[in-house]
């Protein structure tokens, strides 16, 4: 036995999806984390809570509302249709959008923690040396908070690879577009093809172990979550 062509397609799709989502999340999540770490606005609590929602909501809730929101009668669906790009469910881009929501807290929270741990002092010093806001971010925050960004990227990637419930709800199981590894494993189990299921499932266990091992070995002092 071994991986079938369908398995390899699912693995490749999963890696592409997780990589893109990780990049997008670092771009979107960093300003949010920065704002959450430094603001004293009364919106800090509500925004932080919304970002953290996917941590506690079952994926069925998130998937169900995404299906309704991105469907032809939902606000997101009407917006995407008016843009002329059609509907998002059952497409690769639909999974990208869903995964960005779903994995958001895993990226925002480590970065936010890292920035909060820096405190005001390094930034004030940099400002007295006439470093502008962008310069302060790239020359001071980024290097000092590097472990936080590292943790964020790994967790965001790994969590997207491990996503299942949301994909099941909005994916439609289309080979090469939405049939990711976790769904492929589920199909094997449902079809009682346990041998094939073991191959993929065991690969997932080993992959996840290696990812977490890398995280804890290379980055031992960072707060985990």
């Amino acid at each position: 036995m071994g991986f079938s062509d369908a398995d390899l397609q699912a693995i490749w799709l999963t890696l592409r999806l997780a990589s893109l989502v990780t990049i997008l999340l670092l771009l979107i999540g960093t300003p949010i984390a920065w704002w959450l770490a430094r603001t004293s606005s009364r919106w800090k609590g509500p925004v932080g809570a919304v970002v953290a929602l996917p941590l506690v909501l079952p994926p069925t809730v998130l998937g169900f509302y995404l299906l309704l929101a991105m469907g032809p009668h939902g606000p997101v669906g009407q917006f995407t249709q008016s843009l002329g790009i059609g509907l998002l469910p059952f497409t690769y881009w639909g999974l990208v959008v869903a995964s960005v929501f779903y994995s958001m807290p895993f990226v925002v929270q480590p970065i936010q923690n890292a920035i909060e741990a820096l405190g005001e002092r390094p930034l004030e010093v940099a400002a007295t040396l006439r470093a502008g806001p962008w310069d302060r971010f790239f020359s001071v925050v980024l290097p000092l908070a590097k472990p936080g960004f590292f943790t964020a990227a790994i967790l965001g990637f790994a969590h997207t690879v491990g996503e299942f419930g949301v994909v099941l709800m909005i994916g439609g199981n289309i080979p090469g577009a939405t049939r990711v590894v976790s769904v492929q494993i589920y199909d094997y189990v449902e079809a009682m093809e346990y041998g094939q299921a073991h191959w993929l499932a065991m690969s997932m266990v080993i992959f996840s172990f290696l990812v977490l091992l890398a995280l804890y070995t290379l980055n031992p002092n960072q707060r985990r979550f």
Binding site: L67, G86, L87, N173, I174, V189, E190
Partner: protein
Amino acid sequence: MKTLTTTFSAFALIAATFATHAETVQVAVAANFTAPMKLIAESFKQDTGHTAEAAYGSTGKFYAQITNGAPFQVFLAADDNTPAKLEAEGMTQPGTRFTYATGTLVLWSADPALIEDGAKVLGRNKFRKLAIANPKTAPYGASAVETMKALQVDQMLAPKLVQGENIAQTYQFVSTGNAELGFVALSQVFKDGRIAEGSAWIVPAEMHEPIRQDAVILKTGEGNAAASALVDYLKTDKVKAIIRSFGYQIQ
């Protein structure tokens, strides 16, 4: 002392009565049979005093759970292969397997105007997505693929297919409008002898292999009075009428 003995015997009598007449059976029920099973469980309780506690899910998942010691005593599957497989593996009580319902496939849309002239909507191909249940794991999905082959539209429609993991999810894709139409179980959209909402084409039975749904008493159900009572009850005319009212056939 006498009163104590009397009280004790009274308790023993009540306990014995409950033991023989009101047992509980745990039933694993195919998702497409959810609605009829709820009604059947109610009248089963009224007519026999026994309680049927149902869990609803996919047949493949139930197979995995049953072979790994799940505490179900009766299994109402969505197909005939899985109960036969369990029987061959010695997981069932021999001689108890029978077809309790034959499923009817329907092409359904939430849009009341979409399916006006039966199967022709498939040939016109003027829709974005067509939902089916996963043909590898769900009998209704396999029948949907057979039907499309019989109509010679399978190749043309292949790029438009989206798959639900089971028939309940397939229904969800169609009812939310994310897929304009889809092949679902008639029992999901049938109420009081007619299609409850949207538009539909009931697929003629000769377009695909019959969707035989078999029931069986599992090894764990041996000696459980409620288990055999339930299986007998499923064969009564009263229950057959309930099952038919949801659009199933009974042979």
